[in-house]
């Protein structure tokens, strides 16, 4: 199936309806890896990263019905980052309170507070920032997942080994019992599909 870039309504519009299960499933699927990877990169353990994700989604559930996406007037990714940073700070606060209750060492409180502040209190949504890179990487990988679901196993594996793992065409051809020409064909076809899927995703989730 070939999905054109203008056929899907924007996801941000669709999730304004809290009863739209399909939109919420998609929203969750798209943003969960991004929020978790960012929380991990800020020092959250898996339990804290889950709390950050949960609190972020609850905030969005409350705020998105009021959200009006206007391209060029503030980016959703900046807004989402502000929520995630806020929730990471709260998760560190809770961890600090919890640790203090079970351990009287003053150092733990100081470490917890300093850690959260030093990692978060900077402008992090600029181009090239950790958040920005994770956002772009997430869209690229989500596009890859969509394409993988639409092509055969051999075609995907050929692309994965050659383009993503960096194997030579000769090695991939031998591994998958394909001709070098077939490897090039899979590569060209998947790259074009990926670009289309990437553009569709950008339209779907905004900037």
């Amino acid at each position: 199936m070939n999905r054109g870039p203008v056929t899907r309504p924007t996801l941000l519009e669709s999730v304004k309806d809290a009863n739209n299960n399909e939109a919420w499933d998609r929203f969750f699927e798209l943003y969960t890896p991004l929020v978790q990877a960012y929380s991990n990169s800020r020092g959250c353990n898996p339990e804290m990263a889950d709390e950050v994700l949960q609190e972020t989604m609850i905030s969005l559930l409350a705020e998105l019905p009021k959200f009006e996406y206007t391209p060029g007037r503030g980016r959703f990714r900046s807004y989402l980052l502000s929520i995630v940073n806020n929730r990471i700070r709260r998760a560190f606060q809770r961890q600090s309170i919890h640790q203090n209750r079970h351990n009287s060492l003053e150092a733990i409180e100081n470490t917890g507070k300093q850690h959260s502040i030093s990692l978060i209190d900077t402008k992090l949504d600029q181009p090239g920032s950790d958040w920005d890179k994770l956002w772009e990487n997430n869209i690229a990988l989500q596009a890859l997942i969509q394409v993988r679901a639409r092509v055969g196993q051999i075609a995907y594996r050929s692309f994965e080994l050659n383009v993503l793992e960096g194997w030579s065409v000769k090695t991939v051809a031998a591994e998958l019992s394909l001709s070098p020409n077939e490897i090039y064909q899979h590569k060209d076809r998947l790259k074009k599909m990926l670009r289309q899927e990437y553009q569709t995703l950008v339209l779907e989730i905004g900037e």
């Binding site: 990877a37 889950d50 609190e55 609850i58 990988l141 383009v163 790259k191």
Partner: protein
């Protein structure tokens, strides 16, 4: 993304990034959010700043704003009275500690469950599902910096 080569480069970088192992990893937060959405039953979450508690039964859908310590139980002297045979007279208490809300169960007969785990003392996160007997409570904490 301007061209195919740029996309290919981005994808190679993304493939090795910390996001890749998380992409299709099962996530138990999803089921919690689904339960919250289900409990809301099409109604909105409170937009008022601060912490709120939704009391949800078949007949009841009631939000309480949390501003000070509240007690929850079957006895009429509690701040939030829950009429159920599974609820103890004084079942649990919510205290605000450094801007965070803590649930304390002093020893209720049937226990207090937060996200399906029995707890006696726990700091709540926004979206936590609390089960007291057969009654569901949802804790939500709104902060100013997340307003649109």
């Amino acid at each position: 993304m301007k061209n195919l080569d740029e996309l290919q480069q981005r994808l190679k970088e993304a493939y090795k990034s910390p996001i890749t192992p998380l992409l299709e990893k099962p996530c138990n937060v999803k089921s919690r959010i689904d339960l919250v959405r289900q409990a809301l039953d099409g109604k909105s979450l409170p937009s008022k700043i601060g912490a709120h508690l939704l009391i949800k039964t078949k007949a009841l859908h009631e939000w309480h704003s949390l501003t000070r310590t509240v007690t929850i139980g079957a006895d009429a002297t509690n701040d939030i009275v829950l009429n159920s045979t599974f609820v103890s007279r004084i079942h649990c208490r919510l205290d605000c500690i450094e801007g965070n809300w803590q649930l304390h169960d002093p020893g209720s007969r049937n226990g207090t469950y937060v996200n399906n785990i029995r707890k006696t003392n726990v700091l709540l996160a926004s979206g936590d599902l609390i089960m007291i007997g057969d009654i569901t409570l949802i804790f939500v904490d709104n902060t100013t910096s997340e307003r649109l």
